[in-house]
Amino acid sequence: MKKLLLVSLCFLVLCVTQVFAQNRTVTGTVTAKDDGLPIPGVTVKIKGASVGVPTDVNGKFSISAPENATLVFSFISYVTQEVSVSGRSVINVTLAQDNKQLTEVVVTALGISRETKSLGYSVAVVKGSEITKSRETNVVQALAGKIAGVNITQSSGTLGGGSKIVIRGATSLSSDVQPIFVIDGLIIDNSAQQLATSNSAVPQGVASIDFGNRAGDINSDDVESISVLKGAAAAALYGTLAKNGAIIITTKRGKKNGPGTIEFNSTTRFDNVLLLPKFQNEYAQGNQGTYNIANTNGWGPKISEVQDKTFPNFLGQNVKLQAYPDNIKNFFKTGHTDINSVAFSGGGESGDYRFGYTNTIQTGIIEQEKLNKNAVSFNSGKTILPGFDVRTTVNYVRTVTDGLPTQSSNFPNVLSTAVYAIPRTVDIGLLKDNYVDATGQQNTLTPARNGNNPYWLLYNNKSGAVNNRIYGNAILSYKVAPWLTLSNNIGTDIYNEYRKAVTRPGTIGALTGNFFTANIYERIINDDFLATFNHKITSDLDMKFIAGTSVYETYYQRDQEDAQTLTVDKLYNFANAAAVTTTNTSNKKRIQGVYGDLTLSYKDFLYLEATGRNDWSSTLPKSHNSYFYPSVSAGFVFTDVLPKSTWLNYGKLRASYADVGGDTNPYALDFVYTPASSVFAQYGAGSTFPFNGLLGFTGPSTIPGLDKLVSQNQNSTEFGVDLRFLNDRITLDADLYKNTTKNQILSLPLPQSTGYAAKVINAGSLTNKGLEVTLGFVPVKIPSFNWNIQFRYSGNINTVSLPAEIKQVTVQSGYSGLTVKAENGKSIGLYGVAWVRDGNGHIVIDPATGLRKTITDQRLGGISPDYTGGITNTFNYKGLTLAFTVDIRKGGVLFSNTVSTLRTNGLSEETALNRGKIFVDPGVVASGTTFIPNTVPVQSMQDYWGQYSAGNTEANTFDASYVKLREAALSYTFPSSIYKRYANFIKGLSIGVEGRNLWLIHSNVPYIDPEVNFFGSGSAGSGVEFNSMPSTRSIGFNVRLTL
């Protein structure tokens, strides 16, 4: 947006050119520091003179100046630079962007550009150049650690896996917590479709494979800037859809009247496992100290004590036992990512264009895992008639994944349990080289029913998806009169995703083989019509009024096929299957809106904005499907009315109040009966219909809302300050907010004894109160060296309020007695089985066994952090920039099933202790009405660690606080003098090394990255890790060349 502004201003400046008669002609080129591109329209003047000359479209200037003069280069939103001529006749200048420029323009709701200064609410902006430095493949993940109040968690280390973004705390007790994504005014889909890939009715959490969320399709190389609208006031014009905030993305455009440029950006990145468990290397597999090939664990004999014997290995050979300390480490490999992009852009008198192509090729940390993405984008504007502009954007993205790991549990292809449970005595190389026998059949890890060889799973049972997506829009705008502009923005986002997961015959758990396919089709159509009126009421008072209508439709369709029992090996064709079960579903939703936005500005220091919107949603009962909500905000630049201060150079107060209505999902009102494709039975054994020739229908598992449902409502207030001291050497931006979502439309989980799983009702409220602070320092600022420090802090308190008749709301059910739940007066928390404690907090031991007593349904802590923060240090020395970011999270809890698996299986380091010795758990036992110290030893350490099974939630729940080196980047922009000889050809060159997720400095959770979330990005639940693939550390090298 800034560049657009730049171009338009260029014309103005051109009109006022004057020529000075001086004694030397100085020429040169002015380029931008961030992208090396020439800047047209820069004012070049002699210090002390009142006028100067502008640079031309190629950034070139020519000015006559005295030999000892000082030239001043100034341009809007760039730092003004003074250069002394010192007898030179050629002076090339690089201007740096002034991030703190008061006239900075941001894109707000509906693509309306506003001066930051005029806003009554906070909008965070991330520039495209920031997210393409470290080149996360998922744009959402690239925002991690960049904005106060924005919390991002990754679902897994899977390629193309999901990232969940929550702004200012979860506002919903159900699944709806994500902000909307808007690209150039088009609302796009960011769903994380979860489908069961087995014939089972219990996909709780991410169903088996992390296929990611669709915002991951956005190509970061096409992004000019991202505005994060955090509060309801900021997003009020989007209505219902933006009740969780909005991520407004503006894509890059060519420059009108700009030179044709070609930009190359190339990144090579390497990923490896951030954290591996610490394993014991003393004990073999077995049970209570006795070797057994059938056990995938570490509860067998001590390896050093049985060196006189041999035991059968997985190949049936009798071997001496030996530990392979690196067997798990060697299972994982270094992942590799190549991202290459090229963009052509330019423009003429009446239009501009930009064409971009980006190719991403990625391999994962496990063998066979691949992602390949091709993104093409086209963005062009044209003035058809005077005052009549058309802009078109088209984006096509094709993403192909394969070999994605299966996570969670209860499915034969689950990889992380298959890997982490490999006994210490198994040679991973031998396992890999011999995953099949001479006849091509699987050499299983163990002969037991859970003994699949992980390499068999990797090489044969692959899961992947192909997603073809097109999104784009056409914006027509017509300036009817100087005071009236009409515009219409129509766009669509369409994708089709084909998923396929195959299981080869011979896989334990699916010995006859099977495969699964699904076709997902999603379409969004959005149209916004706006009339913008400008009017100067008095010379000091400006008015702007926008009236608009909006039409939004989303359609989803899914066809799914599950083929069982394959006749010919490795042939995944439906006709090769003994039985194929098909299911299909679809839904449609529409919202219509009418809105208005009135902005008043007085003398450019006092601003007032009021909006109102009415929505009609197809998902609510007809009698009350219409709802209105207003917002009001004000900004006051008080330093403009105070006497000039030497220490406070800028100060602004802002305040806002907003109310946003909300609807629900399609078809949540009627009580209907659905034809069933199958019933559930454990281990995938459920029968399919027609069964014995008969069909089956089932009633709903959720009691529908019927005609009682009304819209939910969220209101929020926000106060903020923006203070800049000592000529911007110290900056402080702080917001205090409170948002309350009332009358929530909830799918209230019910105990199953009601006959239902849930009931759709209006009930409960959720309040988030918080403080966000961004504090900047510039400790050192000398001509060639600059040091910036930025501190970010965001604290949020989340409080649930429920009516008396609702005791609790389950936000998410997990496995094994664990739930994420909301209770009146508390924050959303993790609940589950806990240790019984006496009045003094000592764990109570059962004297019969020496093991701990347990109690169900106890609160184990909140799932959200108390606060998150970060520190970013940036050092600039000439063209060299070094930046690193440390992130901090304090508070909240995390349940880890990986830890449970490692401990109950006797494989992690600590389980080697005390084996074969008498071990007394230091707790207490009941003695009459009091408690005395326990003296009863556990029967074995295998029994002791058996208590850490997944069913004991507290045993595997940890404080999720951490300190992490999120990102470090070193980049160098070559001075133009280096390629001066090729100046006509090369316009900019920079190189960099960037690392992400580099170092977990402090964590309380053993063996895993605490920054994971098993529940998908569409869920309000978090705080649970369930056999996720480990997350990765990545280091990348980047070259950017502009021609």
């Binding site: 163990t446 399609p666 039975a681 014995n692 199953q752 009601t754 239902y756 347990t854």
Partner: protein
Amino acid sequence: MKKKFILTFSVLTLILALPSCKKYLDINTNPNAAVTVDPKLLFSYAVTSYVDLRASGDLWIPTSLAGQAVMDGFSNPTGWSGGGLDEGEYKIDPLIYGNPWRAYYTSIGNNLKQAIKIAESATPKNNNAAAQCKVILALVYYELTTLYGDVPYTEAFNSDIAYPHFDPQQKVLLGVVATLDEALAQFDPASTVKISDYDLFYKGDIAKWKRLATSLKLRTLMTMVDKDPTQAAKIGAMINAGGLVASAADNFQVPFQDIQNKKNPKYFISEQFNGKQNFFFASKWVTNYLDPVNDPRLPKLFDLPAGQTHYIGIEQGADGDDAINPRVSTSLQTATEPETIFDYQDELFYEAEIYARGIGVAVDIVKANLLYKQAVLESCKFYGVATATATAFSASLPTYIATDLIYNIQYQHWVDLTDRGIDAFTQWRRSGPEGSEIPALTIPIGAPANGLFRRYEYPITNEINQNPNAPKAVVHYYEKQWFDL
């Protein structure tokens, strides 16, 4: 040109931006579901869920292993344990405790409730369909309470009660009886309005349904009578009134099909996890009783290892040796093996017990012996023993006097239920007060010393955590239920 542009632009914009509001939003009807259905469609879904559950890894495997009807073979790699602790040693995943609860209350119970509602509000009123559903619903209540103990009953299945209270087991069992009475009163054999083609049990034979309902009522009273002797009079009255299951043609069962995903789950797991080898070993509690008398059911129930002449079952938690110990027969647990819920010999064993013990009737040892032998004969035939062999075998059984007779009726009844995990488990618990149950099971090797398995623990995730009115203290698997003396 400019005017044309602007005119077209304006018209298009208006068309796009201002569609007719009412019709445009009137799309909230689910195109993939029906607002009304015939009750038979809900009945078939409920019944399919029910038989799948009974034969599944959530019910058949845990109740059979923990109830010691079959054994896990512990360290045998192709046994169910595969070397680790499992349901046999009372290590039961919380999901397994939760799935039957969910199935009974939601996919089975609630669909039956809906079907009853539709049937009773239909014109003409479909009394038979409602009664057919109520019989299955009574089975749901019976199995729920005998599995979990006190469960929600009076406040269950009510969309207006979010947090049902748990009812004492006695009340639930009386509710089972009341539900069956209601069904019996509602059956209308004269009417052709009923579930017939969608009745996988009896194809709409209402006379069979009435006999079944009567027998199920008798079974429920027999489960209660030791704790609540006042039920004896009702039992006596029922025996005298008759109308009970009267032949193997009345057996209440649903077949599976030899088509992928329609196979019996017992078979499915061996096919998909174990190369069609049966996971389970013969229980010594079965073989020790049957082998000495060379019971003709042995080769039907188990596959004898080559070279062996005797059926040597194992203890729970002991290693199964494929050279010595027989596994459950692959000809018994086939893809098409029907799931049996109640059968003729079940009825005969109860009747034999009633006369042997004199429950509501005078003790009649002769009659009891006759019924006992007939029950064993039916059991042999049920498991595929040729009629002549079965008849000869049952005739060869000794005629017992009182105490031995009761012991053998109970033991034979339990053995007959060896392939029906939950029913064997309930039979064992009602067979005698603690310590005197038949057979006298012992704690499995490797299981905690707390006691024998006596119930499913409450599902934490889907009930206890969701229901403020649910008991919060853990009721352990070794704690007795009300009916279990």
